[in-house]
Symmetry: C2
Subunit: 157 residues, 2 copies
């Protein structure tokens, strides 16, 4: 609170006119964070859209390691969070995942990507080279890609 107020050239107490408390302010920061990865370009294939989305989320975590872990503490309830989730829904739908499976598949995929990004941002991979971490993330993406393909297959069967 003190640092934010300082940046604004104001005392900490002035902030309470605009936010209820520190948690409320952090909610706003998380919302801003989500603004960083907009819906991916519509022209791309579903798998490319998912890839850029995942890459953007990860990059966002690298940029804001102290706030980013908060994403694991809140459901995607705000409008900005829903926008991102809906982009994933559309991609999964285009991939051929049956409608009644989409919600769960999204949860699993998002949790895996977020878990990786938070781990990296939090420093759990600090003993690994950047190249190794990149390779891990690529492997995670192909693993999830295969999972989505398998979910889509079952509809045809």
């Amino acid at each position: 609170m003190a640092m934010v107020a300082g940046r604004l050239g104001v005392t900490p107490m002035a902030l309470y006119r605009h936010v209820a408390n520190k948690a409320d302010l952090l909610d706003g920061v998380v919302e801003l964070l989500l603004t960083e990865f907009p819906s991916p370009p519509e022209g791309l294939s579903w798998s490319d859209r998912l890839k850029v989305l995942a890459d953007n989320i990860r990059a966002s975590g690298r940029r804001h390691p102290s706030v980013f872990p908060l994403l694991l503490r809140r459901p995607a309830t705000t409008p900005e969070a829903r926008k991102t989730r809906n982009a994933v829904y559309r991609a999964l739908s285009d991939a051929g995942v049956p409608q009644d499976r989409i919600a769960q598949v999204e949860r699993l995929v998002s949790t895996a990507v977020l878990g990786f990004a938070v781990s990296e941002a939090g420093g759990r991979f600090r003993h690994h080279s950047r190249g190794q971490i990149d390779a891990d993330f690529t492997a995670l993406q192909t693993l999830l890609r295969r999972f989505i393909d398998a979910e889509a297959e079952e509809r045809v069967t």
Copy 2:
């Protein structure tokens, strides 16, 4: 610090004889946390060992939601953390995953399980029923199971 000292019937300052600072104390708490999920019984199949391990980790997160997220902030460097990781290594080896792939597969699997457990402990799934969360975790486990099988397949090919 104050609460820990209180439980011990001592002033906060007394703790600094035994730990360097708060971060050091938390390291000890995390280490204790890892003691909760011991290496799974040797007699089980590799997949069953992995399953009980994952279930135990998740249960531990549910029990200690405030400390558990710290696991995403530290590499498995302490002896107790290594013990758990080695159990996963052995299971993956028994599954037939080639030696040079085991480390990465372990990282991916652990990150996914941990990401889920931290999400649940942090309250990201608070709008979902317990049954739904359980189903999600089961789906995650079979997804990872398939991934490991695929990694093992490639050796034979």
